[in-house]
Amino acid sequence: MNKKLSLMFLAFGAIAILSGCEPLTVFNPKGPNAQTLSNTIILSIITMAVILLVVYVLFAFMLTKYRASKASADYEPPHEEGSHVLEITWTVIPIIIVAFLAIVTVKTTSSVETTPEGYDNKEPLVIYAASSNWKWHFSYPEEGIETVNYVNIPTDRPIEFKLYSFGPITSFWIPQLAGQKYAMSDMLTTIHLAADEIGSFMGRNSNFNGRGFAEMEFEAQTMTQADFDQWVSDVKANEKPLTEEKFKELLAAEHVGRSSYSSTHLDFSPAPMAHGDMDMGGMDHSDMDMSDEDMNHEDMDHSNTDAESTHSH
């Protein structure tokens, strides 16, 4: 038994060492929302380590003290019904721990589901991110440009990714900037984030969607507002607009490299409606956000039929 315990401590040691030299991606956040998540996780690990410690100490105690080889041959274990005091103790203490974690959860969940604190005075940059086969389309409606398989974002400005999918459910994830969220064909979901540092970050789909899943990565590049503006005007000046034909071609393709366009697909293939606050896992779609002007129901159906008819399978 001791062998196994020491093995586990070794494993815990391994985490400590590993996180010592190069922080694990999730613990190396580069924006406020990812920072909140990282803190939450670390807090929960510490809480859980305390619980583990209690169980392990009790376990080791019982096994060393009450093994048959230590007891005398005529020792008869007593009959013990249980103790109300003890049972209430180990019910109430976990309830307190769970209550504490519940409060942390509610707080942090609502904080990462809104514009990060300290950024609320700035106008968010909205970027539509749609998946099709094993690629990502990023549309910047404000700038009127579109990119495929890479996304550039300015630092010090709140960003809202509006997610949806032309096909199976995917999950949009840039671990160093924010937690993931599903992209589905029939509704929009939103990720809020902001970047504090300039750099290049791994983004990927984390929800299995078929053969090309493992390769479904993109690069998220953060840059100063000035560099971002410069990049936008370069794209506008140098890239071709995204035509409907070209877009259909893109949708049908399985894997493609990076590309940029000086217009977006949102005019001829608009995004579905926003995913309002739905109850019970979204079976009720009655209170969806209908405020976005050019997204009515016909359009939604239309874009989906489109997606299906152009799918290559």
């Binding site: 062998k3 093995l7 586990m8 999730v26 998540l37 990282s38 939450t40 996780i41 929960s44 690990i45 619980i51 583990l52 169980v55 392990y56 009790l58 376990f59 096994l63 009450y66 093994r67 274990p77 009959h79 013990e80 019904e81 003890l86 049972e87 019910t91 976990p94 519940a102 942390v104 959860t105 509610v106 942090t108 969940t109 999950s171 671990p175 924010a178 993931q180 969220k181 599903y182 064909s185 939103t190 789909n205 984390s206 929800n207 299995f208 078929g210 053969r211 090309g212 899943f213 995913h275 606050d277 109850d279 019970m280 896992g281 979204g282 079976m283 039929t305 299906e308 799918h311 399978h313």
Partner: protein, 647 residues
């Protein structure tokens, strides 16, 4: 569909090798039975049996076989990801393998193992002569076996399902999964699910109606309690699966659009239905294990179970909560903070009753006299390892944090840390514990313990690295990754652990062979100095279980009777009524299998004909006058004498 498409997976050498080994194995069994002229014996004693103990043994045999199949899948996956950019398997095969691995391990290994043990032990433990509906029990087993056969056949003919064991739509629709793989999914699960549902009805009735005189519910051993609650969950959860799978089949094969992207179909409807069944399902496989640990720990600590009432209460609470948490599987689906918070709290709440059980087990050992037998090692190993699974479960329950863990290796590590020390250690503890009851000889303790240590240590080597990989951003279900990610070394470590697990499993199998050859026969009935009624009857157990049904006045009656020198199985022997064996469940399921097989390929005419045969069998049954038979007093006395060993 062309022949080439039909047998497409066989183009992969590894899969071809596995397929050949399955076929060769089957041929060896068939040839052996023919050579030794055992077909008659085999048919009479096994294929047409309605004896719950034999049915239980068959369940366990299938479960072990499937542990082997699922284990090969696991090894292949770990081998493929052991080094970056590996070319052992391509994406398609990896996808098929992780899908069938998940399906087989949960539905065709863990479930049947649990159901097998409950079949063998429950009637004995509650002092009953049989289950409530013996013939239905045979139907359950053969329906399950048909489903199991069908899923394994997919691997050879037509291609396995490849959309994950969760089969999320629209990925699992014909648009994105055009092979017949997911048809196999819907039909194989449907058949085995119906078998499970019938078992649920059967065992609830058995436990409510057939307990020995005097055994009130609160005097029932903990394993029986866990099985009662498990079966109640089965009866509530499985109909949801039945409906979901039926809709899936309609969508895939008849062009309806319940889960489609267009025409009002809802992909999330599938996710909801799946997890409304799927989350309770994990308690269906874990609660019986909790019951087994309770028996094993009490027996080998030589003490009564601490806090019996709170153990029962906690299981009831877990069963209720298990239906209220399903949406934690899609926190990232974009339902607002409110919904996520509610499901976070209900999920975390499950940790409270689970913690109660953990402390009760620990306190059961206090003042005890702990013996480290093989079953006890599994029960003890469960405690520290499962606790890691439990606390990481609480971490996952926090919706915000889950945004970072969802669909990563962290999750994969977590559920294996729950399923393996929980369910797998549980059924292995039960298997070593009750083996002498089944066969009248023990498994070798040295080999058993060696197997345990290999499994317990290798398990941690295999799965602990996955927590770290998950936190480093490694998504699950990726068939490969590039060297620049730095995931290589930990994956290699995990592969080495998986090899160790394979050695442990091989030791368990070798132990069967070794013990069969070398262990002494005719063990005494009560090998472990047990506490509950199954130890009061002979090993192996006679067909009628108890010549005299014991009277019960308190919990652990058998234990106290031993202390006080009473014989609770004394009394006057009377003739015993038993059901007749019947081959119809076997043949009915055979035709169900055929019907499902044709349905997979949308060959509706032969499918309907096979179904008509199935209904024919059912109709025949309704005209059948089978009142069973009596075992005479002389025969019982004779059997009792020879089993007691006095002549």
């Amino acid at each position: 569909m062309s022949m080439e498409e039909l047998f497409h997976p066989l183009q992969e050498p590894m899969i071809l090798a596995a397929a050949i080994s399955i076929v060769v194995g089957a041929v060896v069994v068939v040839a052996g039975l023919t050579y030794f002229k055992k077909w008659g014996y085999f048919y009479k004693n096994w294929l047409s049996t309605v004896d719950h103990k034999k049915i239980g043994i068959m369940y366990i045999a299938v479960a072990l076989l499937m542990l082997f199949r699922g284990g090969i899948d696991a090894l292949l996956m770990r081998a493929q990801t052991a080094v970056p950019d590996n070319g052992l398997l391509d994406a398609q095969h990896y996808n098929e393998i992780f899908t069938t691995h998940g399906l087989i391990m949960i539905l065709f290994m863990a479930m049947p193992f649990v159901i097998g043990l409950m079949n063998i032990v429950i009637p004995l433990q509650i002092g009953a002569r049989d289950v409530a509906f013996p013939r239905l029990n045979a139907v359950s087993f053969w329906a399950f076996a048909a489903g199991c056969g069908l899923l394994n056949l997919s691997f050879i003919i037509g291609g396995s399902p490849d959309a994950g064991w969760t089969a999320y739509f629209p990925l699992a629709s014909t648009d994105f999964s055009p092979t017949v793989g997911n048809n196999y999914y819907s039909l194989a699960l449907q058949l085995s699910g119906i078998g499970t549902l019938l078992t649920g009805v059967n065992f609830i009735t058995t436990i409510f109606k057939m307990r020995a005189p005097g055994m009130t519910l609160m005097k029932m051993p903990m394993f029986s309690w866990s099985i009662l609650i498990t079966n109640v969950i089965i009866v509530f959860a499985f109909p949801v699966l039945t409906v979901a799978l039926a809709l899936m089949m309609l969508d895939r094969q008849f062009g309806t659009k319940f889960f489609a992207m267009t025409d009002g179909g809802m992909d999330m409807l599938w996710a909801n239905l799946f997890w409304v069944w799927g989350h309770p399902e994990v308690y269906i496989v874990i609660l019986p294990a909790f019951g087994i640990f309770s028996e094993v720990i009490a027996t080998f600590a030589r003490k009564n179970l601490y806090g019996y009432k709170s153990m029962v209460m906690s299981m009831v609470v877990i069963s209720l909560l298990s239906f209220l948490v399903w949406a934690h599987h899609f926190y990232t689906m974009g339902h607002g903070v409110m919904v996520n918070s509610v499901f976070s709290i209900t999920t975390m709440a499950i940790a409270v009753p689970t913690g109660v059980k953990m402390f009760n087990w620990l306190l059961t050992m206090r003042h005890g006299k702990i013996q480290f037998t093989t079953p006890m090692l599994y029960a003890l190993g469960f405690i520290p390892i499962f606790t890691i699974g439990g606390v990481t479960g609480v971490m996952l329950a926090m919706a915000s944090a889950d945004y970072q863990y969802h669909n990563t290796m962290f999750l994969v590590a977590h559920f294996h840390y729950v399923l393996i020390p929980g369910t797998v250690f549980g059924v292995l503890a039960g298997y070593h514990f009750w083996w002498p009851k089944m066969f009248g000889f023990r498994l070798n303790e040295k080999l058993g313990k060696a197997g345990f240590w290999f499994i317990a240590i290798s398990f941690n080597v295999t799965f602990f690295p996955l927590f770290i990989l998950g936190l480093d951003g490694y998504a699950r279900r990726m068939y490969t990754y590039s060297a620049s990610t730095g995931y290589g070394p930990l994956n290699m470590l995990s592969f080495i652990g998986a090899l160790g697990l394979a050695v442990g499993f091989a030791l368990i199998c070798y132990n069967i062979y070794y013990s069969w050859k070398h262990m002494p026969r005719n063990e005494k009935a009560d090998v472990w100095d047990g506490r509950s009624l199954e130890w009061a009857t002979h090993s192996p157990v006679p067909e009628y279980n108890f010549a005299i049904v014991p009277n019960v006045s308190r919990l652990d009656e058998f234990w106290f009777a031993k202390k006080e020198g009473r014989d609770i199985t004394a009394g006057k022997i009377e003739k015993i009524h038993m059901p007749n064996n019947t081959g119809t469940p076997f043949w009915t399921s055979g035709f169900l299998f055929l019907a499902a097989f044709f349905a997979v390929f949308s060959l509706w005419i032969p499918a309907i004909i096979s179904m008509l045969v199935v209904f024919g069998f059912m109709a025949l049954r309704s005209f059948e006058n089978d009142h069973g038979r009596y075992i005479s007093v002389e025969e019982i006395t004779e059997t009792e004498k020879s089993l007691r060993g006095d002549k």
